[in-house]
Amino acid sequence: MKPRRADQLSAESHRAAVDPVSAQLVSRLARERSRFRLIVHVSQISILVVCLLLWQWLIDAGIGMAFFFSRPSDIGKFLYEAVLTGSLWADTAVTLGATLIGFVVGSVLGIGVGLIVARSPTLDAILDPYLGILNSLPRIALAPLFLLWFGLGISSKIALSISLVFFVVAINARAGAIGVPSDYITVARTLGASEWQRFVKIVVPGSVPSIFAGLRLGVVYSLLGVVTGEMIAAKAGLGVQLTFLAGTFQIAGVFGILVILAIIAVVLNWLMAVAESRLLRWR
């Protein structure tokens, strides 16, 4: 009797102690992940540094012409001075503001219209060619009209941005809503969900992956629309500065603006990725 009990006890305490293989696997997964991240980040930074050094060297060695291509050191100097004097803050704020407003308004309208259209096959069939044609129309060509209608202020850029964001988001939201598996709708019906509940609890969450695909494009399009609008005609904004600097052959400044635009794009994309991973945790 006694030895058996002792055996059982030791087996139990063994099992109760932290499973050594499991602990090993967990720490190995963590190690592999951090190694992966390290490799990726180091490579990314190396590529950037090598490119900049190559660029700098090509110009310094007189192989490329500084007048047309500028060089990293000059671009850095431009940005440093811009930050010190704060000369670009106002323009950056205008561009960023218009981008965000255009994106939010265009997305909200796009999601709404996309989901509503998807709910009615008849409406969908009727509107299909219009959405398709308007989405393939180069919206930048609308810029002159928007300038006439809304003037040189912020609203014409926002209008241009909305015209780009709206369609890409609407089309993705529609595709998402139509693609929600019919089994899920059936389940909701048998659970007694009203039409509105089916919409809120099935159609909307079921379309989230597709809506996010649209939103990720939408952010990029919004910035594109705003900067293009500013380059055509506006009172203020990074696009205005860009045309001015290019027109006066200040190439370092042009690259400097591009760097600022790239930073804005990266930050906006990152925010989208964070929101997406929050909402799509179940994947």
Partner: protein, 318 residues
């Protein structure tokens, strides 16, 4: 001993039975051993539920009635008849199992009872009123588990309660109870993609049971379970169900399951579906899912069903 007695004189008989059982329960309630009392109590509760269902506005009306139901699936160039003139009545609280060759129209019939499909010809009634929409009195289990992938197991189970505006705290309690009852303890926070097939199927069962529907319509609900889990879930399901007076229509390919669980078994013909056989299972309630499979009555019923089904399966695959 205490079986329900279906058939045309079902209602009156049951009333008499309820009266006599209630008498005996009150008469023997104090000196009797707890086990016996429990089973008597369960039977009485069930019969009371049955008679309540009968007297609540729909006196003598069957819980489910199909009358000359025929269904065609219509495509561009043809209309295929998949259900052919099916009529039957089912009293409240009955457990009906439907078996038949693959593709014969069982799911279609279940969908018509659920209100998901409306018959091309004929009518379906639930609780005495014609079925138009799905309504809030049914629980339906699809053959595919069809959990919502963006909801955790717990949130999936709570879905039906949420739709009925049940407060969060009491939803939680119900979900917790069902997770425990179906051996899913501690899995509530996992998403469907993190669960095994059998776990998903059990979560789907919990979701269906959570809001205690008056009708359970189940399409091969346990087909995806491994043999051992299936036994466990069948037993648990019967234990939960036997106290409730819920009417069940249960589609299955597993004859043993049909006989062990059901009060009544129907065999459908190969497509288009017609009723080939409609028999009562002569096993008593409350019933043990494990021991019900051994015995002369089980064998006889099983053999009878198989005799009818075998020819149809051969015919369906010919």
């Amino acid at each position: 001993m205490l079986t329900t007695i279906p058939g045309p004189c079902y209602a009156q008989l049951n009333e008499r039975l309820v009266a006599s059982i209630e008498e005996s329960v009150t008469a023997v309630s104090s000196p009797i051993s707890p086990g016996t009392h429990d089973s008597l109590d369960v039977a009485a509760k069930r019969l009371r539920a049955l008679s309540a269902a009968h007297s609540s506005g729909s006196q003598g009306k069957p819980a489910i009635r199909l009358d000359g139901v025929t269904h065609y699936f219509v495509s561009q160039n043809q209309a295929a008849r998949v259900v052919d003139d099916i009529s039957f009545e089912m009293p409240a609280g009955q457990f009906l199992a439907i078996v038949g060759p693959s593709g014969c129209g069982k799911t279609t019939v279940l969908n018509m009872i659920a209100g998901l499909v409306s018959p091309s010809v004929g009518h379906v009634w639930r609780n005495g009123s014609p079925v138009a929409e799905t309504g809030r009195d049914i629980g339906y289990m699809l053959a595919r588990d069809s959990l919502l992938p963006w909801r955790t197991a717990q949130a999936n189970i709570e879905m039906g309660l949420e739709v009925r505006d049940v407060p969060r705290a009491s939803r939680r309690v119900t979900a917790e109870r069902l997770l425990n009852a179906l051996s899913l303890r501690g899995l509530g926070e996992l998403y469907p993609s993190q669960l095994s097939q059998g776990m998903r199927q059990r979560v789907a069962l919990a979701r269906t049971l959570a809001y205690e529907p008056a009708f359970l319509l189940m399409d091969e609900p346990f087909a995806a379970l491994d043999a051992q889990t299936r036994l466990m879930v069948q037993a648990e399901f019967i234990r939960v169900w036997e106290g409730t007076g819920t009417s069940v229509v249960f589609v299955t390919h597993d004859l043993e399951e049909a006989v062990v669980l059901a009060d009544r078994v129907m065999v459908f013909s190969a497509r288009p579906a017609r009723i080939l056989l409609d028999i009562m299972v002569p096993l008593t309630r409350p019933r043990s899912v494990e021991s019900a499979r051994y015995g002369e009555e089980f064998d006889r019923t099983h053999r009878e069903i198989w005799r009818h089904l075998r020819d149809e399966v051969v015919r369906a695959s010919a």
